[in-house]
């Protein structure tokens, strides 16, 4: 069997050099890990440019690079909504409004903040679901990497799994969160430098942006959409039927832009942990704001290749093809690797592939570091072994890394065997995550919200999300994993994405209402003094005016939002 891409000796040399280097960084950090704070929070001593790049890089794993290029081919420039609406505003909100409570409370994790603000059961619920979720995400990353290498290069599946898992295991065990963060930053530059020439060559090959626009007209009209659908992000959002995503602007703005995006960027410990490692309150607040600048430019590196690829595939003279998946359609997940193979000669090809592998591994490493922290502080220290020495928890962190990686390997094989169970699990996680932002919003801005309210708000909202999913279906699907499993279908959505967005909206609203009602119906337990530093109205304002303007979160936030608005208008 032949494989689409062949790496040369030079490519393997670069690959080995890079991963040797990654292990070396872990090794060099090892003797600096003196206590649990060093291991789990990098001693809260990382400069802001590093935490900022790690903040977006932790999210730049498998799903991002491969998935966004695939969406670029399937939906065109509309995919940028996942960045310009679905990430940037939430990142600004985190930096300006929420970081003071996360960082100022000195909580060591997001679940721990919930414990301080609400109560033990709310923390327990969040910690447990988060721990399970990180293991599965890390397993999926591992599985996707091994599968990709098997298909493209003919590498043995087991070999890829064990080597990647071993590299991640070693460098996190040695250097903890610092090691993960340093490698995430290194990986960020690898992705940028590895993929930028690809975009440049691809764009040149199709004849520039306006020629690409012209070529994409055919892609849109072939599928019976208006000519500009692939190159205009907002003009075709009046109704779900007029764009390939199958969503209308309101569902997109509320479901993706508000609920899902704020739920992920503002409450997911995987990303928040990076900001918590910053060396000062000011640096912690600026972390997501600094991250927002490269984030708003990522569409040009990850979405544009997908758009170029679909134009090339349609043009029979281009000589560029995509592998065909089982159902006969082009496999869009192969866009980035196939373009690397198409345009880059040996040497640069090695650089591109190293970047791709690094992004999978650092996606996995991000999950493992978030897991070992939540496990050690929020589960082990809280329920199994409170009051042990700090050295004991450092030891536990290393041990948790080992079994976290082993469980990820297990999850990867599980994904390989039972693909649909993985789909099901991701669905469950969506139910669990959707309401979280309502809990945090009430927690941080309404002092009357209490533990019972938060806990039951979350529980009923997860249930409401599941119910909504069970009673609705995307158009053209049969009842089952896609929804409608409760027997009756009360509403049919034009597409899966619209259904997801509305599931999120309903979960969030339920959580908001139930938390308020239950909080008002039950007694307030925590006093104003308990909540100082945890709730907006009970926390002294931060003295911001003494900093120069470019260090002030509010000003930076405004600049970020203005720049994002301009991008939206340019590509509207």
């Amino acid at each position: 069997m032949t494989h689409p891409i062949v790496l040369g000796g030079l490519d393997y040399t670069l690959l080995l050099l890079y991963f040797g280097f990654v292990l070396g960084i872990g090794w060099a950090l090892k003797r600096r890990m003196k206590g649990s704070t060093d291991f789990f929070l990098s001693g809260r001593a990382i400069p802001v440019w590093i935490t900022g790049l790690a903040f977006i890089s932790a999210n730049l794993g498998a799903q991002e690079v491969i998935g966004m290029a695939a969406s670029g081919a399937k939906y065109g420039i509309m995919t940028s909504h996942f960045y310009w609406i679905g990430a940037i505003p939430a990142m600004v909100f985190l930096g300006v409004f929420m970081m003071p409570f996360y960082y100022g409370s000195k909580s060591r994790s997001v679940p721990e903040y919930l414990k301080m603000r609400f109560d033990e059961k709310t923390r327990g619920l969040n910690a447990l679901s988060f721990a399970v979720m990180t293991i599965f995400s890390s397993g999926i990353s591992l599985y996707a990497l091994a599968k990709l290498l098997e298909v493209l290069l003919g590498w043995n599946f087991d070999f890829s799994i064990f080597v990647s898992a071993a590299i991640v295991l070693v460098y996190i065990c040695l250097g903890g969160l610092t090691s993960a963060i340093y490698n995430e930053v290194l990986q960020f530059f690898m992705i940028v430098f590895g993929f930028a020439p690809l975009v440049w060559l691809g764009l040149r090959d199709v004849g520039g942006w306006s020629a690409l626009q012209a070529k994409l007209v055919g892609v849109a009209t072939d599928q019976h959409f208006a000519p500009g659908t692939w190159t205009e992000s907002w003009k075709h959002m009046a109704s779900p039927a007029s764009n390939p995503m199958g969503v209308e602007w309101f569902g997109l703005a509320m479901g993706l832009g508000f609920v899902s995006s704020f739920g992920y960027w503002c409450t997911d410990f995987l990303v928040v942990q990076r900001a918590m490692a910053a060396n000062s309150m000011s640096a912690a607040r600026r972390t997501p704001l600094i991250a927002a600048f490269p984030k708003m430019l990522f569409p040009f590196i990850v979405i544009l290749p997908g758009m170029i690829a679909i134009a090339l595939v349609r043009d029979l003279h281009s000589g560029f093809t995509l592998p065909v998946s089982a159902d006969g359609t082009p496999n869009f997940n192969m866009v980035i690797p196939m373009m690397l193979g198409h345009y880059l000669p040996t040497g640069m090809l090695g650089l591109g592939f190293t970047a791709l592998m690094a992004s999978f591994m650092s996606g996995m490493a991000g999950n493992v570091t978030a897991f070992n922290t939540v496990w050690t502080y929020d589960i082990y220290q809280s329920y199994f072994a409170p009051g042990k020495s700090d050295i004991h928890y450092l030891w536990m962190g290393r041990f948790a890394t080992i079994f976290g990686v082993l469980l990820s390997v297990g999850a990867a094989y599980f994904a390989a065997r039972f693909n649909n169970i993985m789909d099901f699990l991701q669905l469950v996680f969506a139910f669990v995550n959707a309401p979280l932002f309502a809990t945090f919003l009430l927690g941080m801005f309404w002092k009357r919200a209490n533990g019972h309210g938060a806990f039951f708000g979350l529980l009923t909202a997860m249930l409401a999300a599941a119910l909504h999913h069970g009673l609705t279906l995307p158009y053209g699907e049969v009842a089952g994993i896609k929804g409608g499993w409760l027997g009756t279908v009360i509403h049919v959505y034009p597409g899966e994405m619209a259904q997801n967005f509305w599931t999120a909206i309903i979960a969030w609203t339920t959580c908001m209402v139930v938390t308020i009602v239950v909080s008002l119906a039950t007694a307030r337990v925590k006093t104003d003094q308990d909540l100082s530093g945890l709730v907006y109205s009970l926390t002294p304002r931060l003295p911001e005016e003494r900093e120069p303007w470019y260090k002030r979160p509010v000003i930076l936030g405004v600049v970020v939002l203005a720049a994002t608005l301009v991008l939206n208008l340019v590509f509207a």
């Binding site: 030079l10 040399t13 670069l14 050099l17 890079y18 280097f21 070396g24 960084i25 060099a28 950090l29 600096r32 990098s42 001693g43 001593a45 990382i46 590093i50 610092t178 340093y182 930053v185 290194l186 530059f189 430098f193 020439p197 060559l201 040149r204 090959d205 198409h342 345009y343 880059l344 000669p345 040996t346 040497g347 640069m348 650089l351």
Partner: protein, 66 residues
């Protein structure tokens, strides 16, 4: 505390840049047909090298100031 990350970044990118640029000088020009005739190993290798050296310089300067 933690060491300056600009050192490892500077080292790896200078190294990668130097390797790619050198290979670009000695390799058979025919392999650049796929990259539309551009010797990407040489050109981009020099970019990586420059980036790596800037990072190293910044790191050294910060260390001297301490």
């Amino acid at each position: 505390m933690n060491f300056d990350l600009r050192f490892p970044i500077g080292i790896i990118f200078s190294l990668f840049g130097a390797i790619l640029a050198t290979y670009g000088l000695v390799s058979d020009p025919a392999i650049y047909q796929r990259s539309l005739g551009f010797n990407v190993n040489l050109d981009w290798g020099l970019v990586l090298l420059a980036f790596g050296l800037v990072m190293l310089r910044l790191a050294l300067r910060a260390r001297r100031r301490k």
